[in-house]
Symmetry: C2
Protein backbone atom coordinates (compact mmCIF):
# COMPACT_ATOMS: atom_id res chain seq x y z
CA UNK A 1 0.00 0.00 0.00
CA UNK A 2 1.31 3.44 -0.94
CA UNK A 3 1.73 6.00 1.76
CA UNK A 4 -1.40 8.15 1.97
CA UNK A 5 -2.94 6.49 -1.04
CA UNK A 6 -6.28 8.31 -0.72
CA UNK A 7 -7.09 12.01 -0.70
CA UNK A 8 -10.53 12.43 0.91
CA UNK A 9 -12.66 15.57 0.69
CA UNK A 10 -15.04 15.97 3.63
CA UNK A 11 -18.10 18.23 3.46
CA UNK A 12 -19.52 19.33 6.77
CA UNK A 13 -21.98 21.63 8.45
CA UNK A 14 -21.41 23.27 11.82
CA UNK A 15 -23.16 25.51 14.27
CA UNK A 16 -20.37 27.99 15.08
CA UNK A 17 -21.91 29.35 18.29
CA UNK A 18 -19.73 27.38 20.70
CA UNK A 19 -16.55 27.36 18.60
CA UNK A 20 -13.58 29.68 18.47
CA UNK A 21 -13.78 29.33 14.70
CA UNK A 22 -12.46 26.63 12.41
CA UNK A 23 -8.71 26.76 12.96
CA UNK A 24 -6.87 24.92 15.73
CA UNK A 25 -5.82 27.06 18.67
CA UNK A 26 -4.43 25.71 21.92
CA UNK A 27 -6.91 25.71 24.83
CA UNK A 28 -9.83 26.71 22.59
CA UNK A 29 -12.69 24.64 21.24
CA UNK A 30 -12.34 24.70 17.45
CA UNK A 31 -14.06 22.78 14.64
CA UNK A 32 -10.71 21.60 13.23
CA UNK A 33 -9.66 20.16 16.57
CA UNK A 34 -12.98 18.32 17.08
CA UNK A 35 -12.82 16.92 13.54
CA UNK A 36 -9.22 15.78 13.96
CA UNK A 37 -10.12 14.02 17.22
CA UNK A 38 -13.05 12.28 15.47
CA UNK A 39 -10.84 11.15 12.55
CA UNK A 40 -8.28 9.83 15.04
CA UNK A 41 -11.01 7.78 16.76
CA UNK A 42 -12.52 6.42 13.53
CA UNK A 43 -9.46 5.92 11.34
CA UNK A 44 -6.76 5.77 14.01
CA UNK A 45 -4.72 8.47 12.28
CA UNK A 46 -3.50 12.00 12.92
CA UNK A 47 -5.01 13.72 9.89
CA UNK A 48 -3.47 16.84 8.39
CA UNK A 49 -6.50 18.85 7.27
CA UNK A 50 -6.43 21.23 4.29
CA UNK A 51 -9.46 23.49 4.54
CA UNK A 52 -11.35 25.64 2.03
CA UNK A 53 -10.94 28.63 4.35
CA UNK A 54 -11.11 29.59 8.00
CA UNK A 55 -14.11 30.93 9.83
CA UNK A 56 -14.08 33.26 12.83
CA UNK A 57 -15.52 32.53 16.26
CA UNK A 58 -19.32 32.39 16.10
CA UNK A 59 -19.50 32.08 12.30
CA UNK A 60 -21.57 29.14 11.01
CA UNK A 61 -21.21 26.83 8.04
CA UNK A 62 -23.92 25.11 6.02
CA UNK A 63 -21.09 23.81 3.87
CA UNK A 64 -17.41 23.66 4.73
CA UNK A 65 -14.83 21.53 2.92
CA UNK A 66 -11.50 20.06 3.94
CA UNK A 67 -9.36 17.25 2.60
CA UNK A 68 -6.79 14.92 4.11
CA UNK A 69 -4.63 12.02 2.97
CA UNK A 70 -4.96 8.57 4.42
CA UNK A 71 -4.07 4.92 3.82
CA UNK A 72 -7.25 3.72 5.50
CA UNK A 73 -9.44 1.87 2.99
CA UNK A 74 -12.78 2.14 4.78
CA UNK A 75 -15.64 3.00 2.34
CA UNK A 76 -16.56 6.69 2.26
CA UNK A 77 -20.16 6.17 3.50
CA UNK A 78 -18.84 4.24 6.51
CA UNK A 79 -16.40 7.07 7.26
CA UNK A 80 -19.30 9.58 7.28
CA UNK A 81 -21.38 7.42 9.63
CA UNK A 82 -18.41 6.77 11.90
CA UNK A 83 -17.46 10.44 12.15
CA UNK A 84 -21.03 11.56 12.88
CA UNK A 85 -21.30 8.95 15.61
CA UNK A 86 -18.37 10.48 17.52
CA UNK A 87 -18.52 14.16 16.51
CA UNK A 88 -20.24 16.57 18.93
CA UNK A 89 -23.84 17.58 18.10
CA UNK A 90 -22.79 20.93 16.63
CA UNK A 91 -20.78 19.37 13.75
CA UNK A 92 -22.02 16.90 11.14
CA UNK A 93 -20.25 15.52 8.07
CA UNK A 94 -22.49 14.92 5.05
CA UNK A 95 -20.03 14.26 2.27
CA UNK A 96 -16.84 12.22 1.79
CA UNK A 97 -15.41 11.99 -1.69
CA UNK A 98 -12.20 10.57 -3.19
CA UNK A 99 -10.17 13.25 -4.97
CA UNK A 100 -7.02 13.09 -7.09
CA UNK A 101 -3.70 13.10 -5.23
CA UNK A 102 -2.94 16.80 -5.78
CA UNK A 103 -6.34 18.16 -4.80
CA UNK A 104 -6.30 20.91 -2.14
CA UNK A 105 -9.54 22.22 -0.60
CA UNK A 106 -8.28 25.82 -0.60
CA UNK A 107 -6.19 26.08 -3.78
CA UNK A 108 -8.71 24.21 -5.93
CA UNK A 109 -11.66 26.20 -4.64
CA UNK A 110 -13.28 28.20 -7.47
CA UNK A 111 -15.62 30.26 -5.36
CA UNK A 112 -17.68 30.52 -2.21
CA UNK A 113 -21.09 31.78 -1.26
CA UNK A 114 -21.79 33.38 2.10
CA UNK A 115 -25.16 34.25 3.56
CA UNK A 116 -25.71 36.84 6.26
CA UNK A 117 -29.00 36.63 8.18
CA UNK A 118 -30.65 39.71 9.68
CA UNK A 119 -33.75 39.35 11.86
CA UNK A 120 -35.52 42.59 10.99
CA UNK A 121 -38.34 43.00 13.49
CA UNK A 122 -38.90 45.22 16.50
CA UNK A 123 -38.53 42.35 18.96
CA UNK A 124 -35.76 39.74 19.09
CA UNK A 125 -36.41 36.15 17.97
CA UNK A 126 -35.52 33.44 20.54
CA UNK A 127 -34.72 30.96 17.73
CA UNK A 128 -32.05 33.27 16.28
CA UNK A 129 -30.00 34.31 19.31
CA UNK A 130 -26.52 33.73 17.91
CA UNK A 131 -27.92 32.76 14.49
CA UNK A 132 -28.86 36.13 12.99
CA UNK A 133 -28.20 39.80 13.68
CA UNK A 134 -31.22 41.46 15.28
CA UNK A 135 -31.79 44.81 13.52
CA UNK A 136 -34.96 46.52 14.70
CA UNK A 137 -35.15 49.54 12.40
CA UNK A 138 -37.05 48.93 9.18
CA UNK A 139 -34.97 47.75 6.22
CA UNK A 140 -36.01 48.20 2.60
CA UNK A 141 -34.79 45.01 1.00
CA UNK A 142 -35.44 46.18 -2.57
CA UNK A 143 -33.30 49.27 -2.08
CA UNK A 144 -30.58 47.26 -0.28
CA UNK A 145 -30.60 44.74 -3.13
CA UNK A 146 -29.96 47.54 -5.64
CA UNK A 147 -27.15 48.94 -3.50
CA UNK A 148 -25.64 45.45 -3.05
CA UNK A 149 -25.34 45.10 -6.83
CA UNK A 150 -22.58 47.74 -6.53
CA UNK A 151 -20.29 45.04 -5.09
CA UNK A 152 -20.49 42.91 -8.24
CA UNK A 153 -17.35 43.00 -10.36
CA UNK A 154 -13.57 42.66 -10.05
CA UNK A 155 -12.13 45.25 -7.69
CA UNK A 156 -9.44 45.95 -5.15
CA UNK A 157 -11.57 45.51 -2.02
CA UNK A 158 -9.11 47.10 0.46
CA UNK A 159 -11.95 49.23 1.86
CA UNK A 160 -13.71 46.01 2.85
CA UNK A 161 -10.81 44.26 4.57
CA UNK A 162 -10.07 44.34 8.30
CA UNK A 163 -7.03 46.51 8.92
CA UNK A 164 -3.82 44.61 9.54
CA UNK A 165 -4.72 41.92 7.01
CA UNK A 166 -1.62 40.95 5.02
CA UNK A 167 -2.35 39.34 1.66
CA UNK A 168 -0.53 39.77 -1.66
CA UNK A 169 -3.53 41.02 -3.57
CA UNK A 170 -6.69 42.72 -2.38
CA UNK A 171 -8.40 42.09 -5.73
CA UNK A 172 -11.40 39.79 -5.71
CA UNK A 173 -14.27 39.10 -8.09
CA UNK A 174 -17.83 39.18 -6.80
CA UNK A 175 -20.08 37.23 -9.20
CA UNK A 176 -23.38 38.00 -7.53
CA UNK A 177 -24.71 39.80 -4.48
CA UNK A 178 -28.34 40.05 -3.40
CA UNK A 179 -30.67 40.97 -0.55
CA UNK A 180 -33.96 39.09 -0.16
CA UNK A 181 -36.68 39.13 2.50
CA UNK A 182 -38.57 36.08 3.82
CA UNK A 183 -41.06 37.43 6.34
CA UNK A 184 -39.03 39.22 9.02
CA UNK A 185 -35.73 37.62 7.93
CA UNK A 186 -33.42 39.45 5.54
CA UNK A 187 -30.90 37.25 3.73
CA UNK A 188 -27.84 38.92 2.25
CA UNK A 189 -26.00 36.51 -0.05
CA UNK A 190 -22.75 37.01 -1.89
CA UNK A 191 -20.90 34.72 -4.28
CA UNK A 192 -17.29 35.46 -5.17
CA UNK A 193 -14.00 33.84 -6.14
CA UNK A 194 -12.54 34.70 -2.75
CA UNK A 195 -13.00 36.97 0.23
CA UNK A 196 -10.70 39.16 2.33
CA UNK A 197 -10.64 39.02 6.11
CA UNK A 198 -14.04 40.16 7.48
CA UNK A 199 -15.05 41.21 3.96
CA UNK A 200 -18.64 39.93 4.06
CA UNK A 201 -19.24 41.34 7.55
CA UNK A 202 -17.94 44.78 6.46
CA UNK A 203 -20.12 44.64 3.32
CA UNK A 204 -23.17 43.97 5.50
CA UNK A 205 -22.21 46.64 8.04
CA UNK A 206 -21.83 49.11 5.18
CA UNK A 207 -25.29 48.31 3.79
CA UNK A 208 -26.79 48.82 7.26
CA UNK A 209 -24.90 52.12 7.68
CA UNK A 210 -26.21 53.24 4.27
CA UNK A 211 -29.74 52.26 5.36
CA UNK A 212 -29.23 54.32 8.53
CA UNK A 213 -27.83 57.23 6.44
CA UNK A 214 -24.57 57.12 8.40
CA UNK A 215 -22.92 56.55 5.01
CA UNK A 216 -24.14 58.65 2.08
CA UNK A 217 -22.02 57.62 -0.88
CA UNK A 218 -22.39 54.83 -3.44
CA UNK A 219 -20.60 51.53 -2.89
CA UNK A 220 -18.37 52.11 -5.95
CA UNK A 221 -16.94 55.30 -4.34
CA UNK A 222 -16.14 53.39 -1.14
CA UNK A 223 -14.45 50.64 -3.16
CA UNK A 224 -12.42 53.17 -5.19
CA UNK A 225 -11.21 54.93 -2.03
CA UNK A 226 -9.32 51.76 -0.93
CA UNK A 227 -9.73 53.01 2.62
CA UNK A 228 -11.24 50.87 5.40
CA UNK A 229 -12.47 54.03 7.14
CA UNK A 230 -14.85 54.85 4.30
CA UNK A 231 -16.75 51.56 4.71
CA UNK A 232 -19.17 50.73 7.53
CA UNK A 233 -18.90 48.80 10.76
CA UNK A 234 -18.04 45.09 10.84
CA UNK A 235 -21.37 43.31 11.36
CA UNK A 236 -21.27 40.71 14.19
CA UNK A 237 -20.21 37.13 13.46
CA UNK A 238 -23.52 35.53 14.53
CA UNK A 239 -25.37 36.23 11.26
CA UNK A 240 -22.69 34.84 8.95
CA UNK A 241 -22.90 31.42 7.27
CA UNK A 242 -20.48 29.92 4.77
CA UNK A 243 -23.19 28.49 2.53
CA UNK A 244 -21.54 26.94 -0.52
CA UNK A 245 -18.01 26.05 -1.61
CA UNK A 246 -17.47 25.55 -5.34
CA UNK A 247 -14.93 23.29 -7.06
CA UNK A 248 -14.49 22.50 -10.76
CA UNK B 1 -59.33 53.23 39.15
CA UNK B 2 -61.30 49.99 38.80
CA UNK B 3 -59.73 46.80 39.99
CA UNK B 4 -57.97 45.06 37.09
CA UNK B 5 -59.25 47.61 34.64
CA UNK B 6 -57.27 46.23 31.69
CA UNK B 7 -57.26 42.78 30.11
CA UNK B 8 -54.00 42.42 28.15
CA UNK B 9 -53.32 39.74 25.54
CA UNK B 10 -49.63 38.93 25.15
CA UNK B 11 -48.25 37.20 22.04
CA UNK B 12 -44.92 35.48 22.47
CA UNK B 13 -42.43 33.17 20.84
CA UNK B 14 -40.29 30.68 22.73
CA UNK B 15 -37.60 28.14 22.11
CA UNK B 16 -38.91 25.19 24.15
CA UNK B 17 -35.63 23.26 24.35
CA UNK B 18 -34.76 24.27 27.90
CA UNK B 19 -38.30 24.41 29.30
CA UNK B 20 -40.46 21.82 30.99
CA UNK B 21 -43.30 23.14 28.86
CA UNK B 22 -45.55 26.15 29.35
CA UNK B 23 -47.34 25.41 32.59
CA UNK B 24 -45.98 26.23 36.04
CA UNK B 25 -44.53 23.28 37.95
CA UNK B 26 -42.59 23.59 41.19
CA UNK B 27 -38.81 23.15 40.82
CA UNK B 28 -39.00 23.15 37.00
CA UNK B 29 -38.13 25.84 34.50
CA UNK B 30 -41.37 26.71 32.69
CA UNK B 31 -42.33 29.48 30.26
CA UNK B 32 -45.27 30.53 32.45
CA UNK B 33 -43.04 30.93 35.49
CA UNK B 34 -40.44 32.99 33.58
CA UNK B 35 -43.16 35.21 32.11
CA UNK B 36 -44.81 35.73 35.51
CA UNK B 37 -41.45 36.72 37.02
CA UNK B 38 -40.88 39.21 34.17
CA UNK B 39 -44.37 40.74 34.62
CA UNK B 40 -43.72 41.05 38.35
CA UNK B 41 -40.48 42.93 37.66
CA UNK B 42 -41.99 45.24 35.00
CA UNK B 43 -45.48 45.87 36.37
CA UNK B 44 -44.93 44.99 40.04
CA UNK B 45 -47.85 42.57 40.02
CA UNK B 46 -48.51 38.86 40.46
CA UNK B 47 -50.27 38.18 37.16
CA UNK B 48 -52.76 35.38 36.76
CA UNK B 49 -52.14 34.13 33.23
CA UNK B 50 -54.86 32.59 31.05
CA UNK B 51 -53.17 30.75 28.19
CA UNK B 52 -54.34 29.57 24.76
CA UNK B 53 -53.12 26.06 25.60
CA UNK B 54 -50.23 24.25 27.24
CA UNK B 55 -47.17 22.89 25.52
CA UNK B 56 -45.12 19.89 26.59
CA UNK B 57 -41.44 19.90 27.53
CA UNK B 58 -39.30 20.58 24.45
CA UNK B 59 -42.19 21.87 22.30
CA UNK B 60 -41.60 25.27 20.67
CA UNK B 61 -43.88 28.20 19.91
CA UNK B 62 -43.67 30.70 17.09
CA UNK B 63 -46.89 32.11 18.48
CA UNK B 64 -48.35 31.58 21.92
CA UNK B 65 -51.04 33.74 23.52
CA UNK B 66 -52.00 34.46 27.10
CA UNK B 67 -53.96 37.21 28.79
CA UNK B 68 -53.97 38.74 32.26
CA UNK B 69 -55.79 41.52 34.08
CA UNK B 70 -53.98 44.51 35.49
CA UNK B 71 -54.50 48.04 36.78
CA UNK B 72 -51.14 49.17 35.50
CA UNK B 73 -51.60 51.88 32.84
CA UNK B 74 -48.23 51.59 31.07
CA UNK B 75 -48.62 51.76 27.25
CA UNK B 76 -48.61 48.36 25.53
CA UNK B 77 -45.43 49.01 23.48
CA UNK B 78 -43.57 49.93 26.67
CA UNK B 79 -44.77 46.71 28.30
CA UNK B 80 -43.38 44.68 25.38
CA UNK B 81 -40.00 46.41 25.57
CA UNK B 82 -39.84 46.08 29.34
CA UNK B 83 -40.69 42.39 29.32
CA UNK B 84 -38.15 41.58 26.59
CA UNK B 85 -35.47 43.43 28.53
CA UNK B 86 -35.88 41.11 31.52
CA UNK B 87 -37.07 37.85 29.92
CA UNK B 88 -34.45 35.16 29.26
CA UNK B 89 -33.12 34.86 25.68
CA UNK B 90 -35.35 31.89 24.87
CA UNK B 91 -38.62 33.85 25.27
CA UNK B 92 -39.64 37.04 23.48
CA UNK B 93 -42.94 38.91 23.55
CA UNK B 94 -43.97 40.53 20.26
CA UNK B 95 -47.55 41.56 20.86
CA UNK B 96 -49.53 43.23 23.66
CA UNK B 97 -53.13 44.14 22.95
CA UNK B 98 -56.04 45.46 25.04
CA UNK B 99 -59.01 43.06 25.00
CA UNK B 100 -62.54 43.34 26.37
CA UNK B 101 -63.02 42.44 30.05
CA UNK B 102 -64.38 38.93 29.43
CA UNK B 103 -61.76 37.82 26.90
CA UNK B 104 -60.03 34.52 27.70
CA UNK B 105 -57.05 33.29 25.63
CA UNK B 106 -58.26 29.68 25.72
CA UNK B 107 -62.07 29.97 25.57
CA UNK B 108 -62.04 32.63 22.85
CA UNK B 109 -59.53 30.77 20.71
CA UNK B 110 -61.09 29.79 17.35
CA UNK B 111 -58.29 27.56 16.14
CA UNK B 112 -54.59 26.79 16.16
CA UNK B 113 -52.00 25.78 13.64
CA UNK B 114 -49.13 23.48 14.53
CA UNK B 115 -46.08 22.72 12.43
CA UNK B 116 -43.94 19.61 12.82
CA UNK B 117 -40.45 19.75 11.31
CA UNK B 118 -38.67 16.63 10.05
CA UNK B 119 -35.05 16.84 8.87
CA UNK B 120 -35.13 14.17 6.16
CA UNK B 121 -31.52 13.51 5.18
CA UNK B 122 -29.08 10.71 5.83
CA UNK B 123 -26.97 12.79 8.19
CA UNK B 124 -28.17 14.90 11.12
CA UNK B 125 -28.20 18.71 10.92
CA UNK B 126 -26.34 20.56 13.71
CA UNK B 127 -28.72 23.53 13.45
CA UNK B 128 -31.76 21.34 14.18
CA UNK B 129 -30.68 19.31 17.22
CA UNK B 130 -33.77 19.77 19.38
CA UNK B 131 -35.56 21.74 16.63
CA UNK B 132 -36.62 19.00 14.20
CA UNK B 133 -36.95 15.23 14.18
CA UNK B 134 -34.10 13.62 12.24
CA UNK B 135 -35.60 10.93 9.98
CA UNK B 136 -33.01 9.39 7.66
CA UNK B 137 -35.12 7.10 5.48
CA UNK B 138 -36.49 8.74 2.35
CA UNK B 139 -39.91 10.36 2.68
CA UNK B 140 -42.25 10.97 -0.25
CA UNK B 141 -43.83 14.28 0.66
CA UNK B 142 -46.43 14.15 -2.13
CA UNK B 143 -47.72 10.79 -0.93
CA UNK B 144 -47.63 11.91 2.73
CA UNK B 145 -49.55 15.05 1.78
CA UNK B 146 -52.30 12.91 0.20
CA UNK B 147 -52.44 10.66 3.27
CA UNK B 148 -52.53 13.70 5.59
CA UNK B 149 -55.67 14.96 3.84
CA UNK B 150 -57.41 12.00 5.54
CA UNK B 151 -57.25 13.93 8.84
CA UNK B 152 -59.37 16.80 7.47
CA UNK B 153 -62.93 16.85 8.80
CA UNK B 154 -64.85 16.59 12.06
CA UNK B 155 -64.16 13.33 13.85
CA UNK B 156 -63.82 11.67 17.22
CA UNK B 157 -60.01 11.58 17.35
CA UNK B 158 -59.72 9.10 20.28
CA UNK B 159 -57.20 7.07 18.25
CA UNK B 160 -54.93 10.15 18.20
CA UNK B 161 -55.06 11.01 21.89
CA UNK B 162 -52.54 9.89 24.51
CA UNK B 163 -54.12 7.26 26.72
CA UNK B 164 -55.30 8.50 30.10
CA UNK B 165 -56.40 11.84 28.69
CA UNK B 166 -59.69 12.89 30.30
CA UNK B 167 -61.71 15.38 28.27
CA UNK B 168 -65.49 15.56 27.79
CA UNK B 169 -65.42 15.24 24.03
CA UNK B 170 -62.82 13.72 21.74
CA UNK B 171 -64.41 15.39 18.69
CA UNK B 172 -62.30 17.98 16.90
CA UNK B 173 -62.43 19.61 13.48
CA UNK B 174 -59.30 19.66 11.33
CA UNK B 175 -59.63 22.42 8.71
CA UNK B 176 -56.44 21.70 6.81
CA UNK B 177 -53.47 19.37 6.96
CA UNK B 178 -50.51 19.32 4.60
CA UNK B 179 -46.98 18.02 4.09
CA UNK B 180 -44.47 20.15 2.17
CA UNK B 181 -40.75 19.79 1.45
CA UNK B 182 -38.19 22.62 1.45
CA UNK B 183 -34.89 21.01 0.50
CA UNK B 184 -34.18 18.35 3.13
CA UNK B 185 -36.80 19.73 5.56
CA UNK B 186 -40.30 18.29 5.63
CA UNK B 187 -42.95 20.53 7.19
CA UNK B 188 -46.15 18.91 8.40
CA UNK B 189 -48.75 21.56 9.21
CA UNK B 190 -52.21 21.14 10.66
CA UNK B 191 -54.91 23.71 11.40
CA UNK B 192 -57.83 22.74 13.61
CA UNK B 193 -60.34 24.12 16.09
CA UNK B 194 -58.62 22.25 18.91
CA UNK B 195 -56.27 19.39 19.61
CA UNK B 196 -56.24 16.47 22.04
CA UNK B 197 -53.25 15.62 24.20
CA UNK B 198 -50.29 14.61 21.97
CA UNK B 199 -52.64 14.63 18.95
CA UNK B 200 -50.27 16.30 16.48
CA UNK B 201 -47.32 14.14 17.55
CA UNK B 202 -49.41 10.96 17.12
CA UNK B 203 -50.61 12.16 13.69
CA UNK B 204 -46.97 12.66 12.62
CA UNK B 205 -45.87 9.34 14.12
CA UNK B 206 -48.70 7.62 12.23
CA UNK B 207 -47.65 9.19 8.91
CA UNK B 208 -44.07 8.01 9.50
CA UNK B 209 -45.28 4.50 10.41
CA UNK B 210 -47.37 4.46 7.20
CA UNK B 211 -44.29 5.57 5.24
CA UNK B 212 -42.31 2.74 6.86
CA UNK B 213 -45.20 0.30 6.10
CA UNK B 214 -45.55 -0.51 9.80
CA UNK B 215 -49.15 0.67 9.39
CA UNK B 216 -51.04 -0.44 6.28
CA UNK B 217 -54.52 1.00 6.60
CA UNK B 218 -55.97 4.38 5.60
CA UNK B 219 -56.16 7.19 8.16
CA UNK B 220 -59.98 7.10 8.11
CA UNK B 221 -59.98 3.47 9.33
CA UNK B 222 -57.65 4.38 12.20
CA UNK B 223 -59.90 7.31 13.14
CA UNK B 224 -63.04 5.13 13.00
CA UNK B 225 -61.45 2.50 15.26
CA UNK B 226 -61.28 5.01 18.17
CA UNK B 227 -58.38 2.97 19.48
CA UNK B 228 -55.02 4.51 20.34
CA UNK B 229 -53.31 1.20 19.53
CA UNK B 230 -54.27 1.44 15.86
CA UNK B 231 -52.40 4.75 15.39
CA UNK B 232 -48.62 5.13 15.22
CA UNK B 233 -45.96 6.14 17.71
CA UNK B 234 -45.91 9.56 19.37
CA UNK B 235 -43.29 11.57 17.45
CA UNK B 236 -40.77 13.33 19.73
CA UNK B 237 -41.50 16.82 21.08
CA UNK B 238 -38.48 18.51 19.45
CA UNK B 239 -40.09 18.90 15.98
CA UNK B 240 -43.33 20.47 17.21
CA UNK B 241 -44.10 24.20 16.98
CA UNK B 242 -47.31 25.96 17.92
CA UNK B 243 -47.31 28.25 14.89
CA UNK B 244 -50.51 30.28 14.93
CA UNK B 245 -53.35 30.97 17.35
CA UNK B 246 -56.58 32.32 15.86
CA UNK B 247 -59.14 34.61 17.52
CA UNK B 248 -62.25 36.23 16.03
Amino acid sequence: MDNNSRNLLLTLRYDGLSFHGWQYQPNCRTVEDELKKAIKRILGEEAKLQSCSRTDAGVHANMFCCNFRTDNQRPTDKIILGLNAVLPDDIAVYGCEEKEAGFHARYDCRGKEYIYKIWNAKQRNPFFNGYALHFSRELNEKRLDEIAKGFVGTYDFSSFCASGCAVKSMTRTIFDCSVRREGDMINFSVHGDGFLYNMVRIMVGTLLDISDKKINEPVIRIIEAKDRNRAGVTAPACGLYLNQVFYE
